[in-house]
């Protein structure tokens, strides 16, 4: 987590690739270059923060294909698409698929740098969020079976009396389980619990709120 972010450059044109690396270097950003999508995939490490500058047209595997592959990963660096003349429709597709930006060649250096900074911010945020979710997940896993059942009933928006009736236990037992869940999940209030659960299960939490 403490690592500096890296700009990964994937372009099969040597000159363009090296030029972009030089540009990154000129503003003090670490850069790594790859001459093909495969080369990048071979070295891919999801733990490493940074962003991906990707030429949309490459032999063997295009930028779009690489983007598709990465989207299967739980965590991957944000993607900036570089397009040539006439590739705008492809770039638009890439953005729809989750790319942060696209830049047309030949590009303004500032525009590329802005895009890179934006992407690194996204990556950082992405990586922070992911960390919190992972912690919450860890806590959820510490719950006993009965505590999970009670948590589910809470998320479904049911009151203690109803939960006791449903589970066939006493209301006081429900309250004891409930306190244990709050303690284990480190939630100081119901709203905080709901926020955590929203991060973990965006869909279920939503329906609970509405319910």
């Amino acid at each position: 987590m403490s690592k500096d972010p890296t700009v990964f450059i994937v372009d099969d044109d040597d000159e363009v690739r090296e030029a972009i690396a030089l540009l990154m270097d000129s503003v003090g950003l670490a850069a790594e270059t790859f001459d093909s999508a495969w080369a990048f995939l071979n070295c891919f490490d999801p733990e490493r923060p940074g962003c991906l500058v990707l030429d949309v047209r490459m032999r063997h595997m295009s930028g779009l294909e690489l983007q598709e592959r990465l989207s299967e990963e739980p965590l991957h660096p944000p993607i900036i698409i570089i397009t040539g003349h006439g590739d705008v429709p492809m770039a638009v597709r890439a953005v729809k698929n989750g790319a942060v930006d696209f830049i047309e060649k030949p590009f303004n250096d500032q525009a590329l740098l802005d895009a890179v900074h934006r992407a690194l911010d996204v990556d950082a945020e992405q990586r922070g969020h992911a960390l919190e979710v992972a912690q919450i997940q860890d806590r959820v896993e510490r719950l006993t079976k009965r505590e999970r059942e009670v948590l589910d009933q809470i998320l479904a928006g049911k009151r203690n009396k109803v939960i006791a009736a449903d589970l066939g236990i006493s209301q006081s037992t429900v309250e004891a389980h409930r306190a244990k869940v709050m303690e284990k999940l480190e939630a100081r209030s119901l709203s905080e619990l709901m926020r955590m659960m929203l991060m973990l299960y965006p869909d279920r939490a939503k329906s609970a709120q509405e319910g």
Binding site: D13, E15, A19, I20, M58, K105, P106, F107
Partner: protein, 745 residues
Amino acid sequence: MPAPLLLIILLAFGALPAAGAAATSPPQPAAERQVLIGVLSHRGDARTRRAWQPTADYLTAQIPGYRFDVAPLDFAAVEPAVAAGSVDFVLVNPAIYVMLEVQRGVSRIATLRNGTNGSASNLFGGVIFTRADRDDIDRIEDLAGKRFMAVDPTSLGGFDMANAVLRQHGVNPAEDLGQLVFGGIHDAVVLAVRDGQVDAGTVRTDVLEHMAAAGSIDLADFKVLGALETPGFTALHSTPLYPEWPFSKLPDTPTDLAQAVAVALLQMPPDSAAARAGDYSGWTVPLDYQPVHHLLQVLARPPYDDAEPFTLKDALTKYWLAVLIGTLALLTMALLTSRVLQLNQRLSRANTRLERRHQLILDSVAEGIYGVDLKGCATFVNKAMERMTGWRAEELIGNETHEIMHHTRMDGEPHPREDCPVYTTFRDERSRFVDEDVFWRRNGTSFPVEYSATPIRDEQGQTIGTVVVFRDITERREAAERIRRREAEQIHFTRLSTLGEMASGIAHELNQPLTAITTNARACVRMIDAGRADTGTCCEVMTKIAEQAERAGEVIRHIRRFVRKEEPEMAPVAVADMFETVLVLMREDARRAGVVLHRQIGFGADYVMAQRTQIEQVLLNLVRNAVEAMLDQPRERRVLLLARRNGNMVEIRVVDTGPGLGKGSPEHLFEPFVTTKPQGLGVGLSISHGIVEAHGGRLRVDSTPGIGATFFFSLPYVDKRPGMTEDAAPLQSSDNENQHAGEHA
């Protein structure tokens, strides 16, 4: 008709009666040999038999072992009968006898003693007389201008004898008489004179006395002109006396038979039955016939008729049938001849018409047509040729056409007559077609022609010259040039549209270096701004920038030349340059399609004669097709541009590892608007094919489904390296770098 032919015809017809006479002779008893006596039948056959058969019977009776018969012969039949030997003896008048004696060698054995009783004689003559009351006619000379009658032109006593006497007295009967007529018989002449139908006449001796004795005339009514006195001869006569008819034998008649006949005749009593029947008084020893010879000589009668065997009238009279047939034959021949002449004339008119028509046909043809003989001289020319060349027919005919209008080649080099296809045609006797040549006009200009030269043969199949049919192809050439220009424009247009289709790839090809340049430059500026720039890094970056700018410039140069309108002429081109252009223009499209482009130039295949941009266009088309064909295939995608030397040619191949061509495509592949691609217009291959053909080659294809397709064609190899051109110079240095153009991108 020539005289000999007439004679032959007459003789041929004349022979018939003699043959007939022989055939009609009565059959003889087997024991006896028949002897035929030919008797001149001047008064009809029946009368002749009646008069002379008794004499024959007398001889039969006198000479044992022989049976004598009479064969009546008319004038014309005598000579042929003698010539044929169909009679053994002849009894004819002295004139005929003399002729036969001279011509056929007959000889007399007895002379007739004519007449009866006191007047009987073996001599006779002619008497010329007039009416006793004609005071104006006393002498023979007085007969000039008078009407005169004789018995017959052939009658010896009735005309010839008097004729000779008249001539002696200066009166030529043929010219000097007022009129000469023939009475036919003696009595008629006598009566015509008595009755004043004619002024005078002549008959043989004894006729007047006989007629007077018979009471039909009175001698006192007549007077004799030029009367002669001859001792022992009592009858009136005006002419010398001549021996009577002789009995003569033919040369082949046996002598003993002739002697027996002569003896029998001389022993015949004057009053015998035979003599009485013949109205004569027996026979005497043969007389001298010299006077007859003389007479005939004077009258120029046969056999003394040097010039005229017969007069026309004789011929007409005696040989009327032959003459008629001859005349008919002549007329027929004349008719035939005139018909033939007429036909001939018509033929010659038709021929003239035909020739005129030929000329008309020749003249109405738009092509120039002329003929030359074996010496190479013009024999005929048509109007179109005169019009096209400006030479007039009379200037060409009889002169060597090659020297006049074929002396110089298209390129201005002299055209030796030994090489002239027109002359070669009559030498090797083969037709030929020449599609490009020039003829020279009279005014010294030339025009392009195509022509056919065909040997002319006569009826025997012998070659006698050449006929040339030619056409001025100026207009066609101009049209071809227009088409060529239009095609070039179309090729250019196609090239532009090809480039348009490739615009995104080519723009990318420019974008790459431009991107590198700007990015590098900006980065460099930032480093300097940040104070982190060292000279080494900056130099390195600047060098990269320069290289990229050159790379962009190179692409632009290729594009610019590629879209430029033709340099129309062929020139030596480096194969590497052409491959380079194609690789530059195709690089990005190939890259997008994931296709690797290679090139390989074999030893000695470095220069070709070509229109550079057009061949580049062909290569670009083929590479694009190859790249597009491989778009959807999972196998490796490669396109190889290959050049290799093959004899005098350089074979250029575009090899791909695509799916190969579909079935049914190859033969139609090079036609316009045939395409196997959903979006293709289908003009690419057709235009490529046209370009290769214009280079004298053929665009061909080899295809193996699942392995790939190879398009290939050949261009002429050229040895000399061209001068350094603006395009070629920078490319020389980049040859190695681009050996695998597709891979480095």
